[in-house]
């Protein structure tokens, strides 16, 4: 009898005991998570330093850079055009409805221009490119890693940080602002078009009203901040890809992690960059 009770007590310890067990387990998993995060950021820092050193020392991999510019830029073009156009139509519909309610329809062009150029264009481009390019780079490099192709590059006396990582990261940094301009242009054009279908407005008038009183400071930093998104997307995707282990499962994990982490850090970077731009480019 007493032995049976002890067994039951062991399986279901009294409530305070169970709480202690749960708390210990929560504390240990939280400390594990913190340790893993520190390790991840430390390794990312070392990786970034290696890439930076490789990128600034010759020989330069111009041909691979051009190939990556095409891969990141030209091949993301249709996606960015579609995403930008859709955002333009959505903002147009929403803004027209909201402004009509408050009797401020005349502010429609400025609302659309500022919403697209300052907020939606850069972040939507960043997220779209992080999805397409982040997954592509992550999966490609991870596949090369698990099939020893990256080791083969290194064994051929070629620096893989220079050939594979630096070129991809630089291509992302250079192409993101250009893709953002494309996305912005499409959003404005389609926003105006959606408005014109309901209530005719000349494009010339739309542009004139939209950019009235605007300075370069209002738009340029917002567009060129996407170079930082490019750095984040390229760096995280290359890092996740080149540290992959474990066959096909590892490749899948690298692709997923590249997209998730790159998207997350793009959004977090936006928070910091918005504040930075507001302070330095008022």
């Amino acid at each position: 009898m007493s032995s049976g009770l002890t067994t039951v007590a062991r399986i279901n310890p009294p409530l305070p005991g169970r709480r202690a067990v749960l708390m210990t387990s929560a504390v240990s998993s939280a400390s594990g998570l913190v340790n893993d995060s520190f390790e991840w950021f430390g390794n990312l820092g070392i990786f970034f330093w290696r890439v930076l050193r490789a990128a600034v020392t010759p020989p330069y991999e111009w041909r691979e850079l051009v190939r990556q510019l095409d891969e990141v830029g030209s091949k993301s073009f249709p996606l960015v055009v579609m995403a930008g156009s859709a955002i333009g139509v959505i903002i147009s519909l929403e803004a027209r409805y909201s402004l009509s309610r408050f009797g401020a329809k005349s502010l429609f062009p400025a609302t659309l221009v500022y919403s697209v150029l300052q907020v939606m264009g850069p972040i939507i481009t960043g997220l779209v490119v992080s999805g397409r390019v982040g997954a592509g780079i992550g999966a490609e490099l991870a596949s090369m890693k698990v099939t020893e192709q990256i080791d083969a590059i290194e064994a051929s006396a070629i620096n893989p940080y220079r050939l594979l990582a630096a070129t991809r990261i630089l291509a992302c940094i250079l192409m993101l602002p250009l893709l953002t301009l494309v996305s912005d242009a499409c959003a404005l054009l389609m926003g105006w078009f959606a408005q014109t279908l309901v209530e005719p407005l000349s494009f010339h008038q739309f542009i004139q009203d939209g950019f009235k009183g605007a300075t370069f400071n209002a738009f340029l930093p917002q567009t060129f901040k996407t170079a930082v998104y490019g750095l984040i997307i390229g760096l995280i995707a290359c890092f996740q890809g080149m540290r992959t282990r474990g066959g096909a499962e590892g490749v899948g994990r690298a692709a997923t992690n590249s997209v998730v982490l790159a998207s997350l850090f793009v959004i977090l970077a936006d928070v910091v960059l918005v504040k930075f731009i507001l302070v330095f480019f008022p």
């Binding site: 290696r50 490789a54 020392t57 020989p59 596949s143 090369m144 099939t147 020893e148 192709q149 080791d151 083969a152 290194e154 064994a155 051929s156 006396a157 070629i158 620096n159 940080y161 050939l163």
Partner: protein
């Protein structure tokens, strides 16, 4: 106390007699977590010599090659390539040493987005940038002809067999005319005829190029055919090193068992 590098440098001066080691490893220790893969081993290979490293799967044979070419770093001990210790070298310094070495990976590790000829041209494009395109093309054809793959220039790696991939990998490893050739399981997974062809090919290359070679294999027949010297690894240690006759005369139980099962 003289290190492996000191000995190698001293012997480098005596290179005319052809016996100075091109590769020397001393007290090489490598662990992965709690698993000791190499437990302080010593080996050396001279010019025109082929050393076959034998052993069961998972005894650190491939790790040894990766340590020699600097893809892994040892926990302790030294690896000297032509008298230079590779410990602590930067990636670009290591690259200068790797140009003297050719590496055939176990699964060939061909670049799957490039054709057969582009794979072989890859090291030349990066290290012989001044070489005219036509000359590079001729060199690639010549290398592929050496390994009997001259008819498959434009095929993708996924369109050729495992044996053919190893031949292309070998041609790529030879592209920079290395002094040292490292071969990781060159006949693993191949049928006996393809294995024989690869062995013949390696012998032919040795005769013509007089490189120092290290061949990692668990194929005793292949090792006997292509190597001047054999070393048997077990649990991180070199159990025996010498000619095949030494293996046959050995009284060590593991050696007897290995010969019996091979």
């Amino acid at each position: 106390m003289a290190t492996a590098c000191d000995i190698a440098m001293k012997q480098d001066r005596q290179e005319e007699d052809g016996s100075a080691p091109f590769v020397a490893v001393e007290n090489l220790l490598k662990t992965f977590g709690s698993n000791t893969v190499l437990n302080g081993i010593n080996l050396s290979v001279s010019r025109s010599e082929t050393l076959a490293v034998l052993g069961r799967s998972g005894t650190g044979k491939s790790v040894l090659l990766r340590l020699i070419i600097g893809l892994e770093m040892p926990d302790s001990g030294s690896v000297c390539i032509r008298g230079q210790d590779i410990a602590g070298l930067s990636m670009d310094q290591m690259s200068a040493i790797r140009k003297k070495m050719g590496f055939l990976f176990q699964h060939a590790a061909l670049y799957d987005s490039l054709t057969v000829s582009e794979n072989v041209a890859f090291p030349l494009e990066h290290h012989r940038r001044d070489m005219p395109r036509s000359e590079r093309g001729e060199r690639v054809k010549q290398l592929l002809a050496e390994v009997g793959m001259e008819g498959d220039l434009d095929k993708m790696p996924s369109d050729i067999s495992g044996g053919m991939q190893k031949r292309v990998g070998l041609a790529r490893a030879l592209a920079l005319e290395p002094e040292i050739l490292l071969l990781d399981e060159p006949t693993a997974g191949l049928d006996p005829i393809s294995s024989g062809e690869i062995n013949e090919l390696i012998l032919k290359l040795q005769r013509e190029r007089q490189m120092a070679s290290i061949v990692v294999t668990h194929d005793l027949h292949s090792a006997r055919t292509i190597a001047n010297r054999l070393a048997l690894l077990n649990e991180g240690d070199v159990v025996i090193e010498g000619k095949f006759a030494d293996f046959q005369q050995s009284e060590i139980e593991f050696v007897k068992e290995f010969l019996k099962q091979s």
